[in-house]
C-alpha cells in the first residue's frame, strides 16, 4: 500500500511544554486512520503540523509525497481539513460559503452537489450564525471537501453532536472512503474509532503508545475475554484450567466465569461438548477498545 502521509520523529514544544515528543506514523492510501488520546495529548498539534499550520521543531512530514514548506500551495490544493473550533462569519449563508470555498481550488467540487450530499439543500440561504451545531459541523465537512481533496483531516468530527447526528456523520465518513479519499480522524470517542478506523494511533503525553487496528489494540492491551455460563450438569474446574487459553475460573452460585485469551470461547465450548455438558445462558464478553485505550494511556502515564 502506498503511503499518503508519512510522519517521522515529529517534535513540537510550546515554551517548556512538550506538546509532541517523538511521533512517527504513516497512513496508507484509502485508509481511515484514527488518532486518539486524552485531551492535551498532542493530537491537534500533530495534525496541525501535518497540514502545515504549525512548524514542527524537529522531524519530517510528507503528505502525498510533498514537502510541507516547499510545496505548501500544492498541499493545500489536495488536502482538505475540518478544524476544531473554526467558524465562519455569522452572516455568511451556507450557499455563499460553499461557492466561496469551492472558488479557491484548481479542481473545485460542485458546490451544489456538496450542498445536497451533506443534507444542507434546504439551508442554502440560511446564515451560518443561525445553523444548529450539527448543521455547522456538516458545512465544515463540506467545506473541507471543496477542492475534491485526496486526503481529508477531520479534527473532533463529532464533538458536540447528538447521538443521531453523530451516526449520520459516521455514515458520511464511510462515504468518503467509498469515494477513495484517505481520511485522518482525530477523536476521543472509542465507539467512533472502532466503527470507522482501519488503524488507530494512540497518543498519550505527546508520544504514540500504539498504532494498530482497533482489534489489534484490544489484543495488545492484554484485553481478556470472558465467557460466562451456567453448566446444566456438574463441572470440574480442572477441565477448564487445563486449557492453555484459560487464565482463571470463578464461580458465583451456579454461574461460572472463565477469563482468558486467544480463542477462549471456542476452547471452552469444545471441552464442554466433549464432556456432554450444556452451557446455559452462555455469554461472551470481549474487552472493548475503551478498556484497551484506558490501559494503553494509563500505562504510559505511569512509566
Amino acid at each position: 500500500m502506498q503511503n499518503v502521509i508519512e510522519v517521522r520523529g515529529l517534535r513540537k514544544r510550546y515554551g517548556a511544554q512538550h506538546a509532541v515528543r517523538d511521533v512517527t506514523f504513516e497512513v496508507g492510501a484509502g485508509e481511515i486512520f484514527g488518532i486518539v488520546g486524552p485531551n492535551g495529548a498532542g493530537k491537534t498539534t500533530t495534525v496541525e503540523c501535518v497540514v502545515g499550520l504549525r512548524e514542527p521543531d524537529a522531524g519530517t512530514v510528507r503528505v502525498l509525497g510533498l514537502d510541507r514548506a516547499q510545496d505548501a500551495r500544492e498541499l493545500r490544493e489536495r488536502v482538505g481539513i475540518q478544524l476544531q473550533s473554526s467558524e465562519l462569519p455569522a452572516k455568511l449563508t451556507v450557499g455563499e460559503a460553499l461557492r466561496l470555498y469551492t472558488s479557491f481550488y484548481r479542481k473545485p467540487a460542485d458546490w451544489r452537489v456538496l450542498l445536497t450530499d451533506w443534507g444542507l439543500a434546504d439551508k442554502e440561504r440560511t446564515a451560518f450564525g443561525k445553523l444548529s451545531g450539527g448543521q455547522k459541523q456538516r458545512l465544515s465537512i463540506a467545506l473541507a471537501l471543496a477542492g475534491t481533496p485526496e486526503v481529508v483531516i477531520l479534527d473532533e468530527l463529532t464533538t458536540g453532536l447528538d447521538p443521531q447526528a453523530r451516526r449520520e456523520a459516521w455514515g458520511f465518513v464511510e462515504r468518503l472512503r467509498a469515494g477513495g479519499v484517505t481520511v485522518v480522524l482525530v477523536s476521543h470517542f472509542m465507539e467512533e474509532v472502532e466503527r470507522l478506523c482501519d488503524r488507530v494511533a494512540v497518543i498519550s503525553a505527546g508520544r504514540i503508545v500504539a498504532v494498530d487496528t482497533p482489534a489489534g489494540l484490544v489484543r495488545r492491551a492484554g484485553g481478556d475475554q470472558v465467557v460466562r455460563f451456567r453448566p446444566t450438569s456438574p463441572l470440574d474446574d480442572a477441565l477448564l484450567t487445563a486449557l492453555p487459553e484459560v487464565r482463571s475460573v470463578e464461580r458465583a452460585g451456579p454461574q461460572v466465569t472463565v477469563s482468558g485469551t486467544g480463542n477462549l470461547p471456542g476452547a471452552v465450548t469444545a471441552v464442554l461438548a466433549r464432556h456432554g455438558i450444556v452451557a446455559a445462558e452462555l455469554r461472551i464478553e470481549q474487552a472493548s477498545l475503551d478498556d484497551a485505550y484506558a490501559t494503553l494511556t494509563t500505562e504510559r502515564e505511569k512509566s
Binding site: 497540514v51 478544524l83 452572516k91 470555498y101 484548481r106
Partner: protein
Amino acid sequence: MIGTEFRLFLRDPMSTLLSLLLPVGILVIFGIIPDVSKPSAEYGGHSALDTVLPSAALALTVGMLGLFVLPTTLTLYREKGILRRLATTPVPPSALLRAQLVVNLTMMLLSTALVIGVGVVALGMSAPAGWAWLALVLTLGAAAMLAFGLIISAVAKSSKVATGLGFLAYYPLAFLAGVLVPREQLPHAVQVIGDWTPLGAFRLAVQAAWSGDAPSAAGLAIMAGYTIMLGALAARFFRWE
C-alpha cells in the same frame, strides 16, 4: 472574495450606519442651519457649508471605517478562526485582508459621493473645486486611517478590545481634527497638535481641496508618513491566529 466581503459589510447594520449614513446625516443636520451657508471671514470668505462641514463628514467617514469597522472585523475573523481556516486553503489569509481593505476603501468613496451628492443637491453646497486634489487627499487620508486600523487589529487580542481601542483612538483624533468642536474654537496649541495628526491633516487638506486650493505639502506628507509608519508596524506585528 471581495464580493462576499461587500455583502457581509452591507448585512451588518452597524458598519453601514457608521460609514454611510452617519456622515451624510451629520452634514444634513448641520447643513440646514441657515447660518452655515453664509460666507464667513472665519473660513476665508467661504461658508461653513463649503468648508468645515464636508471635511468633518469625510473625516468622520474615514475615521469610523479605519478605526472601528476594519479592526473590529479583522480581529473577529481572527478570533473565530476564519483566518486560520483560510490558511489551510490555497488562498492565503492575506487575500481576505486585501478584500477588507478594498471594501473599506470603496465604502469611503461611496460615502464621499453621498456627502457631495446630498450636499450639493439638497443643501446648496458648492461642489468641490479641486477634484484632483480631493482624490489625492482622500486616497492619502484613507490609507493613513486604514493603516491605523491595521495596527489596532495587530495589537488587539479580541474584537472587543479592538472596538475599545478604536474608541480610544477615535475620540482624541476626532477632537484634535476639530470634528467634535470646530477647530477654530480650539486653543492655538491644540490646533497645531491637531494639524500633525492624520485626521487633522486630512481635514485641512479636504477643506483646501474643496475650495480649489492646493493642500499644504506638509499635510500630505503627514498622512503619507503615518501610512508608511503604521503600515510597517502592522505588517510586523499582525498575527493570523
